[in-house]
């Protein structure tokens, strides 16, 4: 790769041309990354022209250049949002001191852990979604899938940049590990469990981009507050792309919900007759992905979370604008916990409950989207409504993982959970049915029967624009 002009190949605003160490690391890594992309990226579409958005600079308009691109030629760039005016640490024990441009040695371990955990999710979701192109309900959706995929790839670049630039040999080792783990692999699984769950049809894809990518929004936003400025600025730029992923998920589910309501009414309550998706199945998908995504926020009572905040590494969502006390040494948060087989309120030092604080923000955001979907249902005239399960329901991590709870968050027996689990969570039969109705639709502007068309196209193009040239 020595002959390739990496600086030209990789759009960046990090002074790549002059950074020998970084260039050297990237020269080694780029072929490994391409090998991974070819093995694990979207299957069957690598040589197709796709109408994609590429970030080529951080200036207004520079981050959204639309053109036909073949995915392996996508220019995975490295961008940091330009520094803001206030360049002091915004929270924790170092509040008010200048932000760090290099990693403070004492926080090296924690920062590496934060970055590697975030970075691992980016390639993981590409792997989870790699076969979905062949069952896309429209060219519009197919293009959105690939847009999400290449941008997740770019987010991996953004994180790997931090590892290369600031963590030396350890960072290079970690970057290679990021390419050797595989979603769902028994021996080399991805770090976080939601990223090891199969995502083999489009109801799961939209649920994933809505619920699981939304965790990413909150994680990135709280890292964008970090006292370690390069990470803060990297994450801030990633957020601009993440918005589109959430849009894909939220509107995708909205379109399915609208269509399902219509088909339910047309078929007297059995949309399966015409290849539609029953609303209770959508509810089960919401329950499944919401509960898995809640796990991603980490333990409800966590000394890591307290340390990350105290050390100035990870703040709260919109820390600077939404909060007045940025130190939070005092104060408690009430966290319901189980003891002696009943739920009681426990006072947790506020800093130790930081994961829960962020989870609250996330749940509020999910609630907002849910209300929107219910308005969609209301407009169609159907009486069914969707709900979010309790945060205690079917958790795999944290203080609720050892007990069973129903959708309302009440303690139930293991037997009761087992008896209801197929009612409450996306099950094999659902997945089998969903896979059976998902057939690729390639005529521009046409939609599969189980989903409504979008309100508008991408980048002001019409809906029947040829988003993917097959």
């Amino acid at each position: 790769m020595g002959n390739v002009d990496l600086n030209a190949r990789i759009p960046n605003n990090v002074g790549l041309a002059d950074d020998k160490r970084l260039l050297k690391a990237l020269e080694h890594w780029l072929p490994l990354y391409m090998e991974w992309w070819n093995d694990m990226g979207p299957a069957g579409f690598q040589t197709k022209d796709i109408y994609l958005r590429t970030a080529i600079s951080v200036e207004a308009g520079g981050w959204a250049n639309f053109d036909y691109v073949q995915m392996p030629d996508y220019r995975w760039g490295i961008f940091l949002t330009p520094p803001g005016e206030d360049r002091t640490i915004g929270f924790g024990d170092h509040v008010g001191k200048p932000v760090w441009q290099e990693i403070p040695g004492e926080y090296r371990g924690n920062l590496r852990r934060i970055i590697v955990t975030q970075a691992d999710t980016e390639p993981a979701s590409v792997e989870q979604q790699r076969f979905l192109g062949s069952t896309a309900p429209s060219l519009y959706d197919m293009r959105n899938l690939f847009q999400v995929n290449v941008e997740e790839g770019r987010h991996l670049w953004a994180m790997v940049y931090l590892l290369f630039r600031f963590f030396g040999k350890d960072g290079r080792d970690e970057a290679e590990e990021l390419l050797s783990r595989r979603s769902g692999d028994e021996d080399k699984p991805r770090i976080l469990n939601a990223f090891n769950q199969p995502c083999d049809h489009w109801l799961s894809f939209f649920s994933f981009t809505h619920f699981t990518d939304r965790d990413g929004k909150f994680q990135l936003a709280s890292l964008a507050e970090s006292g370690f400025e390069p990470m803060a600025r990297t994450c801030d730029f990633m957020l601009t792309e993440e918005v589109h992923h959430l849009f894909v998920g939220e509107t995708g589910l909205d379109r399915i919900i609208r269509r399902s309501a219509e088909l339910t009414m047309e078929t007297d309550g059995d949309p399966k007759k015409v290849g539609g998706i029953p609303l209770d199945m959508i509810q089960r998908s919401i329950n499944y992905w919401f509960s898995y995504s809640l796990d991603l926020f980490g333990g409800e009572i966590s000394s890591n979370a307290a340390n990350f905040f105290g050390e100035g590494l990870k703040g709260r969502f919109k820390e600077k604008n939404r909060y007045e006390d940025h130190v939070m040494k005092e104060g408690v948060k009430i966290v319901p916990n189980v003891r002696d087989n009943r739920i009681h309120d426990e006072e947790v030092p506020y800093r130790n409950a930081m994961n829960e604080v962020l989870r609250d923000e996330y749940i509020a955001d999910c609630d907002r989207a849910l209300r929107k979907w219910n308005r969609t249902l209301e407009k169609t005239g159907i009486e069914n409504r969707l709900t979010l399960p309790s945060r205690r329901f079917k958790r795999h991590q944290g203080i609720y993982a050892d007990n069973d709870f129903n959708l309302e968050g009440e303690l139930i027996s293991k037997e009761e959970m087992e008896a209801n689990v197929t009612e409450w969570l996306l099950n094999d039969e659902d997945n089998h049915y969903l896979t059976s109705i998902m057939k690729q639709v390639v005529e521009p502007g046409k939609m599969a029967n189980w989903i409504a068309p979008p309100a508008r196209g991408i980048n002001s193009q019409p809906i029947d624009f040829e988003y993917v040239r097959l």
Binding site: E186, R351, N352
Partner: protein, 544 residues
């Protein structure tokens, strides 16, 4: 506070699950978070406290006597996410200094007994690690012969105490890491400052584990290894263990009465009197068959178990006692005869393990933070194994009077080594090697003067001096600084060369116990104090 009991049995285990299949014994650590020994903390993520370790000690003890056919012991986790998070930090943070010290000592004694038993009984111990294994959890792994780690990108071994808690890594310090596993010191230095520890290949490359295997093949690989270890030890499959019943003890105010000994506490004087009663030889069995039939009622075994219980009770429930006066009651001929039965039946696993247990218990006594004086008077029977018990004491006073005698036997020549691996005779007479040499094979009875000349006692005192000297020595001893005495005794008791085990306790006592009282660990801004709290530690940077 409720006194702590060290007695338990499998029907009461809360924190461990055990399974026996053929010659393989499996132990699963599965700590019940809601049942700590004391209130005030939860035992999350397979973290442990003294209560958890008391059960482990019971498991090891029962393996010794109840499961002699075992060829391999496999320790693994019954927790879905972790192997073991180590000693419970909230427990350490909230307990007194004395409690922390006793806790660390007991956990190490358990791990040492596991190691000793495995070596003596030729049982291979294998630790199969799935999930993170930190601090004292890794110390448990280090106590096994082989460490297997699943290579799943998540499971790791670590000693995070320095970066996270500001205390000495591992409940046994670092001795097992560098002296037992022989990890290179510079690599160990790196290992101990990386909070997340080493995973898979690096753990193997740097010698923190013996084998790694991907998740899909892990239990098959471990299974194959176990099969091989068992096939090399099939000869013992027909052995039948004995069962260890509860140890009967009668507790009256200041007295603790067992069948073979009594402990009387004189709280005001801060002393205790421990008197061993040796039964008549006429009641003894004469063959190993008869000993097996007696099981846990066989006097030497009963005595060893009772003495151990008394020592543990003294340590944890009577910290105010600074001096124990050891006496014996019985006939010297009887004692020598009891010893002879053991000597005659050596080679039988039950007898061998009984001797090993005596050895273990005597070592425990020697490692106790308490002064011990042996008083050899009329009616005493300090011979052989009991004389060895007297040798564990800091001083031995013998009454110079007709009929007061002691006698050595093979028990004083290597059957009951000290913690440091040498005989107490070699340790006592380190400056008089010719005298030590001349004693070898000398099993004659010795009166007070002869015993003094042979270097076997501190002082021989006649009837006029004995009572006064002992009284004054006792009163004087009880008035001295207990901290100074603990340090002084630990320095004097282990004269001579060291081994892995003596280093574990020596380093632990000197360093961990010092770090535990330093402000950087337990001061208001110390790392241990603040662990899990929202504030972060502030260190005093001066090196001491």
């Amino acid at each position: 506070m409720e006194p702590i009991s060290f007695q338990t049995n499998p029907s009461k285990y809360r924190h461990w699950r055990i399974e026996k299949e053929g010659q393989v014994f499996r132990v699963f650590m599965q700590v019940d978070p809601e049942h700590p020994l004391r209130d005030g903390y939860d035992l999350k993520l397979n973290s442990y406290d003294l209560g958890v370790d008391i059960e482990l000690a019971d498991i090891v003890r029962r393996l010794r006597f109840e499961h002699p056919e075992i060829a391999t012991l496999v320790i693994s986790s019954g927790h879905s996410q972790v192997f073991c998070a180590g000693a419970n930090i909230n427990m350490l943070g909230s307990s007194t200094h004395a409690w922390k010290v006793n806790f660390c000592k007991f956990t190490n004694e358990t791990r040492c007994e596991l190691e000793d038993w495995a070596a003596q009984a030729d049982v291979r111990t294998l630790c199969a690690i799935t999930g993170p294994c930190a601090g004292g959890g890794y110390e448990l792994a280090l106590a096994c012969d082989e460490i297997w780690l699943v290579d799943d990108g998540n499971s790791a071994v670590s000693l995070p105490e320095t970066p996270l808690l500001g205390v000495l890594p591992g409940t046994g310090g670092l001795t097992r890491l560098v002296d037992k596993r022989k990890m290179r010191r510079d690599r160990a230095d790196v290992f101990c400052t990386v909070a997340e520890g080493f995973k898979g290949k690096r753990a193997l490359r740097w010698g923190a584990v013996d084998a790694i295997s991907p998740k899909s093949k892990f239990w098959d690989s471990v299974g194959e290894r176990i099969e091989k270890l068992v096939s090399e030890r099939s000869g013992r499959a027909g052995r039948k263990g004995i069962s260890l019943g509860p140890i009967p003890v009668v507790i009256d105010d200041d007295e603790r009465r067992y069948s073979s000994l009594t402990v009387t506490y004189q709280r005001e004087q801060r002393i205790a009197e421990l008197t061993v009663k040796v039964p008549a030889h006429a009641s003894s069995p004469s063959s190993s068959e008869e000993i097996h039939a007696l099981g846990d009622d066989f006097w030497p075994l009963r005595f060893a178990r009772e003495l151990e219980d008394a020592i543990l009770d003294l340590r944890v429930n009577h910290p105010g006692t600074g001096l124990v006066l050891l006496r014996s009651e019985g006939n010297l001929d009887d004692l020598i005869a009891w010893d002879q039965i053991l000597l005659d039946c050596r080679g039988d696993w039950l007898i061998d393990q009984t001797i090993e247990l005596l050895c273990h218990v005597f070592q425990r006594l020697e490692r106790s933070s308490c002064s011990f004086f042996a008083l050899i008077e009329e009616g005493s029977c300090f011979g052989g194994s009991l004389l060895e018990l007297a040798f564990t004491c800091d001083r031995i006073y013998i009454l110079d009077k007709e009929g007061v005698e002691i006698a050595r036997n093979p028990f004083n020549e290597g059957l009951l080594p000290m913690t440091s691996g040498i005989t107490r005779s070699a340790c006592r007479l380190i400056g008089e090697p010719e005298l030590e040499e001349s004693l070898q094979g000398d099993f004659d009875r010795k009166n007070a003067i002869a015993a003094e000349e042979a270097g076997l006692v501190t002082e021989a005192l006649d009837e006029i001096d004995f009572e006064d000297t002992v009284r004054i020595s006792v009163e004087e001893r009880a008035s001295l600084s207990p901290d100074s005495l603990t340090g002084m005794e630990a320095n004097l008791r282990f004269t001579g060369p060291e081994n892995l085990k003596s280093k574990i306790f020596g380093r632990l006592s000197a360093w961990q116990n010092w770090i535990f009282i330093r402000p950087n660990a337990t001061g208001p801004n110390g790392a241990l104090t603040l662990y899990g709290k929202p504030e972060r530690p502030q260190f005093e940077w001066d090196r001491v």
